[in-house]
Amino acid sequence: MKEQDPIVFVIDDDRMIRDGLQSLIRSVGLRVETFASAQDFLGTKRPDTPACLVLDVRMPGLSGLDLQLKLRDAGIPIPVIFITGHGDIPMSVRAMKEGAHEFLTKPVRGQDLLDAVQKALASDRELRQKRREANEIRARFESLTPREKEVLELVVAGLLNKQIADQLRMSELTVKTHRAHVMEKTQAESLAHLVRMSEKLKTATRK
C-alpha cells in the first residue's frame, strides 16, 4: 500500500465489534487500524495520510467524547464518526457541536458506516489539500522582505501605486519594483490571483 492511502482508525473496547468493523471496512479496500482504547490510539504514531476515526462513545477510561476534545485541543483535525449504544439526544448534540462528522447508533448498518467513512475521508482529503495549499502560499509569502510585505498589504487593500508611495514615503518607481518582486516571489499570475491567495492564507490562519 502507498503511504498516501487513506486509513480508518477504529476504536472500540469490544473486540468482536472491533473485528467486525475492521473486516467490514477492509472489505471495501480501505486500510484499517484498530485500538481497544482511546489511550492506545493517542500513544501510536499516525502516518500523514487522509484518515478518519470510528469511535465508540462509551468506553472505559477515556470516553469517545473525551478523546474528541483532546484531539481538537491538540490541533489534530481528524474527522470523527461516533457509534453509540444509546443515542441520547444531549450526547449527540454535544458531539456534533464539537464537530463530529457523523453520529450512528448501534447496531450500525454496514452500508451506513461505509458511507459515513467515505464521506469523512473525502472531507479529510479536501481539508488536507486546503492545508497543503495554504502552507505553500505561506512559504511563498514568508520569503518576502518586510518592505515587500508592507507593499503587499496595501496592494491587496486596493491602493494605487501613487497612494502606496505616499503612505510609505517612497518613490512610485520603488513601489513598482517592490510590487514586481512580490508578484514574482508569490508566483501570482495577476492582481486578482494575489488577492485570492492572500485571502486563503488569512482564512487558513484564522482556523
Binding site: 468482536m16 465489534i17 473485528d19 467490514l24 457509534i83 449504544g85 444509546h86 447496531p107
Partner: protein, 399 residues
C-alpha cells in the same frame, strides 16, 4: 389585691365590733326601760345580746359583748347601784351571770369556728375538684390529639411504604431494562457488523471466502453471546432470592392489588378481588410472587387502556383446585389475545407495546416454574384475556 381584701375584712371587723356594742347598748336600754315593770330582766336581754354578737360577729365581738354587759350589769343592776362595786350577797348571782355569758359565747364561737372550717374545707374541695376536672379534661384532649396524630402518622407511613415499594419496583425494572438493553445490544452490534462484513466480502468481484467465513464465524459468536446474556439475566432474576417460606397467597394477592391501585385509579380500572375464603398457604418467595402477580395485573390494566365502551374491570381470584393446587387468576376485559400473540407471549423480548421490553411474562413463567407451578394464558369467551398460574398448596388440604 391582698391589701384590698385586708382592708375589706378590717372594715368588716370594725362593723362586727360596732354591732356588738350596739346590741349590748340596746339590751342595756331595754333592761333599764323595763326594770321597774318586770323586775330585773337584764339576764335575758344581755344574754340575747351576747349570743347575737357572738353568732353574727364572732369570738372577738362576743368577748367585747361579755365584758361590756358585765360592766353594765355591775354598774346599773348590782347593788350598790351606779357603782362598779358589788355587795358580797350579790356576788354568787353575778358570778353565775358572768359564767353563763362566757359559757354561751364560748360555745357559740366554737360552733361558729367549726362551721367556718367546714365551709372552707368544702369550698376548697370544690375548687380542687374543679381544678382536677379541668386537668383531666386537658389530659383527655391531649390524649385524643395524640391518638389522632398517631393514626395520621401511621396512615402516612403506610402510604409512604406502599409508594416506596412501587418506586423500588419501578426503579429495579428501569435499571434492569437499561442494563439488559446495553448487555444485549453490544453482541447484537457485533453480529450486525460481522454479518455485513461477510456479505461485503462475498459481494466483491472476487469473493474472499476466507474473510467471509471469519466474519460469519464472528457473527455466530456474537449471537451466542447475546443468548448467553439473556440466559444469565433469566437465571439472575429467577434465582436472585431463593427464600421460600410458607406464605398466605391471599395476602400476597391483596398486597399486590394495593400496589397496583394507583395505576388502576389513574386508568379508570376497577380491581375486583375474589379470594378463597380458607386462606390457602403456599411455599414461595413473597417478593417474586408479588412481581409475577403485579406483572399480570399491569398487563391486564394495559390491555384495557383502549376499552371505552364498557367498564374496565380486572378480576383477581384465588381458589383451591383438585390435586392440592392453588390457582391465581388475573382476568381482564381488554383487547384480548390473537392466535399469533398467544403463541409467542412467553418468548423473551416479545412485546405488543411500543415501550415494552418483552421480558415480563417470560420472567414470570420462569419464577412460577421455579416454584413448581405452571403459568398460562387463555382468551376469554366474551372479551379480554385470562392469565393464571398454579402453585402446589402447602397446607395439605384439597378442596
Amino acid at each position: 389585691m391582698g391589701r384590698e381584701i385586708d382592708a375589706r375584712s378590717g372594715v368588716h371587723s370594725v362593723a362586727r365590733y360596732a354591732l356588738a356594742l350596739v346590741l349590748v347598748t340596746l339590751a342595756l336600754l331595754i333592761s333599764l326601760a323595763f326594770q321597774n315593770s318586770i323586775g330585773n330582766p337584764f339576764w335575758f336581754f344581755f344574754s340575747a345580746a351576747v349570743i347575737l354578737s357572738t353568732w353574727l360577729g364572732g369570738t372577738g365581738p362576743g368577748w367585747l359583748a361579755v365584758i361590756y354587759s358585765t360592766l353594765a350589769v355591775m354598774y346599773y343592776f348590782m347593788p350598790p347601784l351606779h357603782s362598779f362595786a358589788i355587795t358580797p350577797r350579790e356576788l354568787p348571782y353575778f358570778v353565775t351571770f358572768v359564767a353563763c355569758q362566757i359559757g354561751v359565747t364560748q360555745l357559740i364561737s366554737w360552733r361558729r369556728q367549726t362551721e367556718e372550717a367546714l365551709r372552707q374545707a368544702r369550698a376548697e374541695l370544690e375548687v380542687r375538684v374543679a381544678e382536677r376536672t379541668v386537668e383531666l379534661k386537658n389530659a383527655n384532649q391531649a390524649l385524643l390529639r395524640r391518638m389522632d396524630e398517631q393514626r395520621r402518622t401511621e396512615e402516612m407511613l403506610q402510604a409512604t411504604q406502599a409508594e416506596l415499594a412501587r418506586a423500588a419496583r419501578i426503579t429495579t425494572i428501569g435499571e434492569l431494562t437499561a442494563s439488559i438493553a446495553h448487555e444485549v445490544n453490544q453482541p447484537l452490534a457485533a453480529v450486525v457488523a460481522n454479518a455485513d462484513a461477510c456479505v461485503a466480502w462475498l459481494a466483491r468481484e472476487h469473493p474472499d471466502l476466507a474473510e467471509a467465513r471469519a466474519a460469519a464465524e464472528r457473527a455466530t459468536q456474537g449471537a451466542t453471546r447475546a443468548s448467553d446474556v439473556i440466559a444469565r439475566i433469566r437465571s439472575l432474576i429467577t434465582k436472585a432470592t431463593p427464600e421460600k417460606l410458607r406464605v398466605q397467597i391471599n395476602q400476597i394477592v391483596e398486597q399486590t392489588a394495593i400496589l397496583a391501585e394507583g395505576q388502576a385509579a389513574r386508568t379508570n380500572v376497577a380491581i375486583d378481588l375474589e379470594l378463597s375464603p380458607d386462606s390457602p398457604i403456599v411455599l414461595g418467595d413473597t417478593i417474586q410472587l408479588q412481581q409475577v402477580i403485579l406483572n399480570l395485573v399491569m398487563n391486564g390494566i394495559d390491555a384495557m387502556s383502549t376499552v371505552n365502551d364498557q367498564p374496565r374491570t380486572l378480576t383477581l381470584r384465588s381458589e383451591r383446585q383438585d390435586g392440592g393446587h392453588i390457582r391465581v387468576v388475573v382476568q381482564d376485559s381488554g383487547i384480548g389475545l390473537t392466535e399469533e400473540v398467544k403463541s409467542r407471549l412467553f418468548e423473551p423480548f416479545f412485546t405488543t407495546r411500543s415501550k415494552g421490553m418483552g421480558m415480563g411474562l417470560s420472567i414470570s413463567r420462569s419464577i412460577i416454574e421455579a416454584h413448581g407451578g405452571r403459568l398460562w394464558a387463555e382468551s376469554n369467551a366474551s372479551r379480554g384475556a385470562t392469565f393464571q398460574f398454579t402453585l402446589p398448596s402447602e397446607d395439605g388440604r384439597a378442596s
